[in-house]
């Protein structure tokens, strides 16, 4: 019944759809810029409050080397922190789902740790790990860790009770139940969490750079804030946000590639 021409057609339609989505996203961001420009012009917002997008655009072009060379450290910290935080969160979530007691005892501890302000832990981390990548990755990990923990704990429990009974009758081990059922049931929650974590890990990396660093977009942001280099400040934030948006979007893309069996809701 499989029909190559048809499959090709489906694929090309999907590609067109993806293209449209990207265009719409760009339109949205473009709209934001236009709105920004309009607000600045119409209300005559002083440049020292919000610079005009034209100035910031010029800064983006002029300082592109500076911005790019500072993007990499931040990107590395964010991605590494994202990985570490999510691996930890997923690991803990798996523990929690299999040992109710552990969940009840450790979840408050996780909440507790999560609420320690970064500014307060950063100095301790710097003392322990020095000022290299490590403390930044840890901070980015700490920030992206919690949403994933909460969501995945919930997701791993979002299993159809009938599927649980099926697995029980098949005498599946907890491990098998996990890999054959829970994992799939948790995917919507997991991907939501990863999207949240993608953005928070970028935030985490930026914040971490306030302490103990001399490179990265966070460092640029702080410096340009204190030096009143408003257009550089905005340019740095824009680069960071664009990176976060791409990171976020790539999680969405991975979700589409992984979850192939779902009935998609009609528009």
């Amino acid at each position: 019944m499989a029909d190559d021409a048809h499959v090709a057609e489906v694929k090309s339609r999907k590609r067109r759809d993806a293209f449209k989505r990207v265009l719409t996203a760009l339109a949205g961001l473009g709209g934001l810029v236009v709105l920004w420009y309009a607000v600045v012009k119409i209300f005559g917002v002083e440049e020292y409050i919000v610079p005009s997008p034209v100035d910031v655009g010029r800064e983006l072009v002029d300082s592109r080397d500076l911005l790019l060379s500072n993007l990499w450290p931040t990107a590395i910290e964010a991605v590494a922190g994202f990985m570490a935080g999510n691996v930890l969160a997923i690991g803990l979530a798996i523990l929690f789902v299999h040992a109710k007691r552990a969940e009840e005892a450790l979840f408050p501890v996780a909440v507790f740790i999560r609420t320690i302000p970064i500014v307060a832990i950063a100095p301790i981390l710097v003392i322990i790990f020095g000022t290299g990548y490590t403390p930044k990755v840890i901070i980015a990990a700490l920030i992206s860790f919690f949403p994933t923990l909460v969501n995945v704990v919930r997701g791993l429990q979002a299993v159809d009770p009938q599927a649980l009974e099926l697995m029980r009758v098949l005498s599946a081990s907890k491990r098998e139940l996990f890999f054959k059922v829970r994992l799939y049931a948790s995917l919507p929650f997991l991907f939501s969490a990863l999207k949240i974590a993608a953005t928070s890990s970028v935030i985490g990396a930026l914040v971490a750079e306030w302490v103990g660093s001399e490179q990265g977009l966070g460092y640029l942001i702080i410096q340009s804030t204190y030096n009143f280099q408003t257009s550089l400040l905005y340019a740095s934030m824009i680069v960071a946000s664009l990176f976060a948006t791409l990171f976020f979007a790539s999680i969405g893309l991975i979700e589409r590639l992984v979850v192939t069996w779902e009935v998609s809701e009609e528009p």
Binding site: D160, E165, L166, M167, R168, V169, L170, S171, A172, W261
Partner: protein
């Protein structure tokens, strides 16, 4: 007179099940009693809500009776379940939506210490048996209701449990397919000697398949009587045209109606 008693596959010793809800208790099964022999084909017939599914779920160790004892193959139901001696076709097909038809049938081979186990019939052959050759790659949401049910049947047959619990397995199938699968099931049962506990709403199906039929009543679920079906094996579909068959069916019908 000495009778060598056949060994018991499932012993339900005056079991009762009460569910507690936020609003009060529901007595789903009241003092049900029967012994099912190894190798027997035993059916449950009764009005909707009389506790048939609950009964199967007790045998499969999915529900604990609030009263009475259950033993399966001489031990606890939980042990039998853990030894993977129990197979179950659920009333709802319960397919995993992220697995294709074929992958769903393969599931029992991948879990429960059965990895790499060879089934007597291959998953593909079983899908063909239930009329789904060519649809191996379809996901559950792409299948019709009856097709999903047939995948679930194939899944239950892919390993060879000692005790097979079937909860209205052919309910969503047309008569032709149903007849065919009835015959296939009987063949498999005879060839393998497994014990089958079968829930159905079709009196004809119960008579055609079973050696004994338990007739139940509802509110609360109670055993009314157990009826022997002395039709000789192997049976073929035309046995349904015999007077003995019609008589048995009528008798069961009267039993169900409580007359």
């Amino acid at each position: 007179m000495t009778t060598t008693k056949a060994p018991t596959a499932v012993n339900l010793d005056h079991v009762s099940v009460e569910f507690s809800t936020d609003r009060g208790k529901v007595l789903a099964l009241d003092d049900y009693h029967s012994e099912i022999e190894v190798g027997e084909f035993f059916s449950l017939l009764g009005p909707s809500g009389c506790g048939k599914s609950t009964l199967l779920r007790i045998v499969a160790d999915l529900v604990n009776p609030t009263d009475g004892e259950v033993s399966v193959l001489g031990g606890k139901a939980s042990e039998a379940r853990k030894r993977r001696e129990i197979g179950f076709v659920f009333q709802d097909s319960t397919l995993l939506p992220w697995r294709t038809a074929l992958q769903n049938v393969q599931l029992p081979l991948e879990v429960g210490g059965n990895k790499g186990a060879k089934s007597s019939s291959s998953p593909q052959d079983l899908l063909a048996l239930v009329g789904l050759a060519g649809r191996e790659e379809a996901y559950p949401h792409e299948l019709s209701g009856g097709m999903r049910q047939r995948v679930a049947i194939a899944r239950a047959l892919v390993t060879q449990p000692e005790v097979l619990l079937m909860d209205e397995p052919f309910g969503a199938l047309d008569e032709i397919t149903r007849d065919k699968l009835n015959e296939e099931l009987l063949r498999i049962w005879q060839e393998t000697g497994i014990t089958i506990v079968f829930v159905t709403h079709s009196i004809a199906e119960a008579v055609f398949l079973s050696q004994r039929v338990a007739v139940m009543s509802a509110h609360p679920g109670r055993l009314r009587e157990i009826v022997n079906v002395p039709l000789p094996h192997p049976r073929h579909l035309d046995v349904r045209d015999t007077a003995q068959f019609t008589e048995l069916a009528a008798y069961l019908r009267r039993g169900l109606e409580g007359k």
